[in-house]
């Protein structure tokens, strides 16, 4: 047993050490602290995007520059979508709002707006020196129609594009030019792509179209967000329709010229680099490494269009100011900073989201990223485009995806009758939306 | 029954020479014992004969046929391992029968041979048992039964009794001897126990450090050991005293052992003189040399006594049935029972 005296002494020594350390620390701080300046304005920026550590670090870097420029100290707080929603609601209800700026996907902002949690940004006027892309403007307009206010400023975007190995341009089918493809003209259709793939196959003997149909691939997005929209005008509404049958016929045909290993690919970067394929459709994030490695080899194009239009999914992130937020002027300054072409270019290079202002793309220095940005710009700027968002289905998202993938497997891979498959699956699809009480997109 | 010849057989394991240029001849039907301390190479020789080792150089002949490169299984040898190597997952019957089944003998023949071998070894009641149900002695019998059931041309035994307790060992060795006499199989038996060797052997090869020191009958190696090692290894441990050869005999300091015809060239040679305890007498013998000594210690072995005697500072051991009377004793040694070895070469010096 320790004697009581020793215990007491030990405690006394520990306390003494702590006191001395505290006094010394305070003294050092007093002598070395920075001189007082004008009061620093601090604002909170909560975001559902850019949460991964590397992306956060980039944001901190970016916001340090913003501080040097404006003297506004921004704290970047990555939050889950649900957490932000709860936080905003609670703060607004309590009348003590701390968050000055919110970053999130357009669908998330839509939810905030529907709850009346957002300021009208219309009063800040237009941001000069930048032209927002067609699709981005349309998303803002859509909100305005519903809520009567400007709910957000477009921040950054991601989408799916077609990446083309430049060798493929030697095999363009008659009636299609490189310019058509790159600019996304009337002639750049899914039928034209099929003709191109067929031509390549006939001339080279190789099936050089690549689709991400592997276990982790995003093929289902091609189906519901691209082909269905381009052919029927809707993602789900006309799932089983003559237009849909026509679309599946095209895909079946296209599959004949697609690389057989497509069913094992979850990202197209690697097959593109290895030249297993010349024409590939995939998400920007899943092809960017190929473009960064060999930018000279590839061209990035908008997706082809169908009879109804150029259907595509756009993932758009925007910036919004909560109702009654503190330091709104400063928050707006940050919005200006983040949408500035030079900042947008840097975001594209560092985190793989693409600019929403057309002036940013020329400012991108990495040639691979620039090429994708050009493709994205062309796609988002196209007049005939039908941009859609991925329907927010929560727990039913898996079932929704599975229906399109099953249709692909049975129609394209197993060669089952199109009508029969679609009729069989349609009730399941309708049931999902019925259960969620959502209109079919 | 074959005659086995080893011709200049050597075996190296890396830099270690386990067997060093050994030539041996084992007669047909003979029980030949390889005797030596552990590590002397006796087991290696047995394994070479069995075909489990290939000699580094030299040849092995069975009845004049070179079998050096013949696989073990084709040599027609039966072997009893020190560990018995009775296959643990088979019943005794199957242990004995498996080698016969491999030879594709008819079922009736196999059964007959298994039962006959079992009868010979007195293990008929154990045939349906598994090895883990057997005692050491029983396992040893199974191993022997398995070896003789194949009707081998040569029976090889590698210290088969070393894992048995003393009493069982004496019994088992008698049985092996009887069995060998009955079957007349050329048998090579490895042991480090000289008593066992003498009890069993027709002839013994005494080995040391990979070399054969002496080959001979029990009497030969006992009475005329060719070198100090054999003299020391065979029989109860010999008394050794240092001495010098003179023209009248061997001077061992406290006595002179007289020899009549000492060759001139031997005079002055330093020698080790060996006298077995049983060759030292306490009562007078014809032509014996007399020594005077003092009794230091008496070990009573019931049937005889080992008496430790100080003779002018040298300690000698005598084995006798007589209990010495008093401290001061007279000892008698016969010159013909004295073994004289060159101190340097340790080889026997023939002197009479």
């Amino acid at each position: 047993m320790l004697s009581k005296a020793i215990v007491t002494r030990t405690i006394a020594i520990i306390i003494a050490v702590i006191v001395i350390a505290a006094v010394a620390g305070a003294a050092i701080y007093m002598f070395t602290r920075p001189p007082m300046e004008k009061p620093v304005i601090r604002i909170l920026f909560a975001s559902t995007q850019l949460a991964p550590p590397a992306e956060q670090a980039f944001m901190v870097e970016l916001l340090t520059e913003f501080y040097k420029e404006t003297g506004i100290d921004v704290s970047f707080l990555p939050f889950g979508y649900v957490d932000i929603a709860n936080k905003l609601e609670a703060e607004i209800k309590a009348g003590r709002i701390t968050v000055s700026l919110v970053g999130g996907l357009s669908t998330e902002i839509d939810f905030f707006a529907s709850k009346g949690l957002l300021e009208d940004l219309g009063r800040f006027g237009a941001l000069g020196g930048r032209t927002f892309l067609e699709a981005a403007i349309r998303a803002v307009e859509d909100h305005k129609k519903i809520y009567g206010i400007t709910t957000f400023v477009p921040w950054m975007t991601a989408t799916f594009v077609v990446v083309i190995n430049n060798k493929a341009f030697d095999y363009l089918p008659s009636g299609l030019t490189k310019d058509d493809v790159v600019k996304g003209t009337e002639r750049w259709t899914w039928d034209a792509m099929l003709a191109w793939a067929k031509n390549i196959y006939e001339k080279t003997g190789k099936r050089l179209v690549g689709l991400p149909a592997g276990a982790g691939g995003l093929l289902h997005r091609l189906l519901h967000g691209y082909l269905y929209v381009s052919y029927t005008g809707y993602q789900a509404q006309k799932f089983n329709s003559p237009e849909a049958v026509q679309m599946w016929g095209l895909l079946k045909e296209l599959w004949r010229y697609s690389h057989p290993e497509s069913t094992t690919w979850s990202a197209m970067a690697d097959p593109l680099l290895k030249e297993d394929v010349w024409l590939a459709w995939d998400h920007t994030a899943r092809v960017i490494s190929a473009l960064k490695t060999s930018p000279e080899k590839f061209t990035v194009a908008p997706v082809p269009k169908g009879p109804v239009g150029r259907g595509y999914i756009v993932v758009l992130a925007g910036l919004a100011i909560p109702k009654g937020a503190p330091n709104q002027e400063e928050a707006w300054k940050l919005v200006e900073f983040l949408t500035r072409p030079s900042t947008q270019a840097r975001i594209a290079e560092r985190v793989g989201f693409f600019p929403v202002v057309s002036e940013a793309t020329p400012a991108i220095t990495d040639p691979g990223v620039k090429k994708i940005a050009e493709g994205v710009t062309a796609q988002l700027g196209a007049r005939d485009s039908i941009a859609v968002a991925i329907p927010p289905l929560g727990g039913k998202a898996g079932d929704f995806i599975a229906i399109y993938r099953e249709a692909f497997e049975r129609i394209v891979l197993k060669g089952e009758d199109i009508g029969a498959v679609l009729s069989g699956l349609e009730p399941k699809l309708k049931a999902i939306f019925a259960e969620l009480k959502m209109p079919e997109p | 029954m074959v005659k086995i010849d080893l011709e200049g057989v050597s075996k190296r394991f890396g830099s270690v020479i386990a067997v060093d240029n050994v030539s041996l001849s084992v007669s047909s039907g003979e029980l030949f014992v390889l005797l030596g301390p552990s590590g002397c190479g006796k087991t290696t020789i047995l394994r070479i004969i069995a075909g489990l080792e290939t000699p580094t150089s030299g040849r092995v002949y069975f009845d004049g046929v070179d079998v050096t490169d013949m696989p073990s299984g084709k040599r027609g040898v039966g072997m009893v391992f020190q560990s018995y190597a009775v296959w643990p997952h088979m019943k005794v019957y199957d242990n004995i029968a498996l080698p016969l089944r491999i030879k594709k003998l008819p079922q009736s023949e196999i059964d007959a041979r298994v039962r006959s071998a079992a009868r010979m070894l007195n293990i008929e009641n154990l045939l349906e048992r598994y090895p883990f149900q057997l005692s050491g002695g029983e396992k040893q019998r199974v191993a022997v039964a398995r070896a003789i059931a194949v009707e081998p041309r040569v029976l090889l035994m590698d210290e088969p009794l070393s894992n048995l307790d003393a009493l069982l060992r004496v019994q088992a060795r008698a049985e092996i001897k009887r069995l060998q006499r009955e079957l007349k199989i050329t048998t090579i038996y490895v042991t480090h126990d000289q008593v066992e060797a003498m009890a069993l052997a027709d002839r013994i090869a005494v080995m040391n450090k990979g070399r054969v020191m002496q080959v001979g009958t029990v009497d030969e190696v006992y009475n005329k050991p060719l070198n100090r090692f054999v003299a020391h290894f065979i029989g109860s441990s010999m008394n050794f005293v240092e001495g010098t050869i003179t023209d009248r005999g061997v001077d061992i300091g406290f006595a002179l052992i007289p020899y009549s015809s000492v060759p001139d060239e031997l005079v002055g040679k330093k020698v080790s003189v060996g006298i077995r305890p049983e060759d030292i007498y306490l009562e007078p013998i014809q032509g014996g040399v007399v020594l005077k000594g003092r009794v230091v210690l008496i070990e009573n072995l019931a049937s005889e006594y080992i008496i430790h005697i100080d003779v002018s500072g040298t300690l000698l051991r005598a084995k006798t049935k007589l209990y010495p009377q008093g401290e001061e004793v007279r000892l008698y040694i016969h010159p013909s029972k004295v073994h004289v070895f060159d101190t340097i070469t340790e080889n026997r010096i023939h002197i009479a």
């Binding site: 003997g205 149909a213 592997g214 276990a215 982790g216 691939g217 690389h259 057989p260 290993e261 497509s262 069913t263 094992t264 690919w265 290895k274 030249e275 297993d276 727990g395 039913k396 998202a397 898996g398 079932d399 995806i401 599975a402 993938r405 497997e409 891979l413 | 069995a50 075909g51 489990l52 696989p71 073990s72 299984g73 084709k74 040898v77 039966g78 072997m79 391992f81 560990s83 018995y84 190597a85 296959w87 643990p88 997952h89 088979m90 498996l98 080698p99 491999i102 030879k103 598994y130 090895p131 883990f132 149900q133 398995r146 194949v150």
Partner: protein, 279 residues
């Protein structure tokens, strides 16, 4: 110490372990059971009547029934080989068991890269003029060859663990047993049949159980090599849990894996009961 307290001490001492077992083992297991069995419709019923069940049963059986026997046979012969002492044995041994250190997904990627249409094997064969067009192993059209690739990958990657178990077993066999077999004229095949195999039965049993357990859980390699089109029990669990966000059906499949494992394990124990005294 007073005796009533002493009587309770063992229970007090094991209590933390029991609590641990209850919380971290029993609770999840029962939770899985309830997830799998209860619901409307019951996920288990859904699984048992699912059109995928036949496909899953076929592929699972095909993979288990080819991979595991091949691994056991290869491991036995490799063990026999490595029982010989030869120059460079250690190095060859390490190379042979090296795949053990490779993650299963990495192993699948290695084989994918090697066997894909633009992979190492096809390049080699084309450059040496053996073939003029690539041989496809992957893709839905070549699903039978994909199964071969899965077989090769699994055998390559997981045979070492079987080998280590069986090699350990063989090393336990006293050299005398084998030498006795040599002396009594058993050739290599007979030694294997009559001596070695019976003696390593318990090790084969262990290897079989461990391998079956793990083979039933392989997901990553199958997704990599076959996409989602070779459906086995384990890939169904992952598919229903993480892609369909349906823990109930996932649990039902998981429960099936448990049942199959239990059944096969019992079968191995019954079939490979070690002979009396063989230990």
């Amino acid at each position: 110490m007073p005796s009533p307290l002493r009587k309770h001490i063992p229970y007090i001492l094991v209590a933390p372990s029991l609590a641990y077992l209850a919380f971290f083992i029993s609770y999840p297991i029962f939770y899985t059971f309830s997830l799998a069995l209860f619901g409307n419709p019951s996920p288990m019923v859904e699984v048992m009547t699912s059109p995928r069940l036949g496909e899953v049963a076929l592929y699972t059986t095909l993979i288990i029934a080819t991979v595991i026997p091949a691994q056991i046979v290869i491991a036995i012969f490799a063990s026999l080989f490595f029982l010989n002492r030869f120059r460079g044995r250690e190095l060859v041994l390490y190379l042979f068991i090296a795949p053990l250190a490779i993650n299963e997904v990495a192993a699948a990627l290695i084989w994918y890269t090697m066997l894909s249409s633009s992979g190492f094997l096809n390049k080699l064969l084309i450059n040496t003029g053996v073939i003029s067009a690539p041989i496809y192993f992957f893709g839905y059209e070549f699903i039978d060859r994909t199964l071969l690739a899965i077989f090769l990958t699994e055998v390559w990657r997981a045979t070492p663990i079987v080998f280590i178990i069986i090699y350990a077993g063989m090393q336990m066999i006293s050299r005398d047993y084998l030498e006795a077999a040599d002396v009594f004229g058993l050739n290599l095949w007979q030694k294997l049949r009559y001596i070695i195999l019976p003696l390593i039965k318990p090790y084969i049993q262990t290897a079989l159980i461990i391998r079956t357990l793990f083979a039933l859980q392989v997901v990553g390699p199958i997704f990599i090599l076959a996409g989602e089109y070779v459906r086995v029990l384990a890939t169904e669990v992952v598919y229903w849990y993480s892609m369909r966000l349906n823990p109930g059906v996932a649990s039902a499949w998981a429960l099936l894996i448990g049942l199959v494992t239990l059944l096969l394990g019992g079968l191995y124990i019954k079939l490979l009961r070690p002979s009396a005294g063989a230990t």
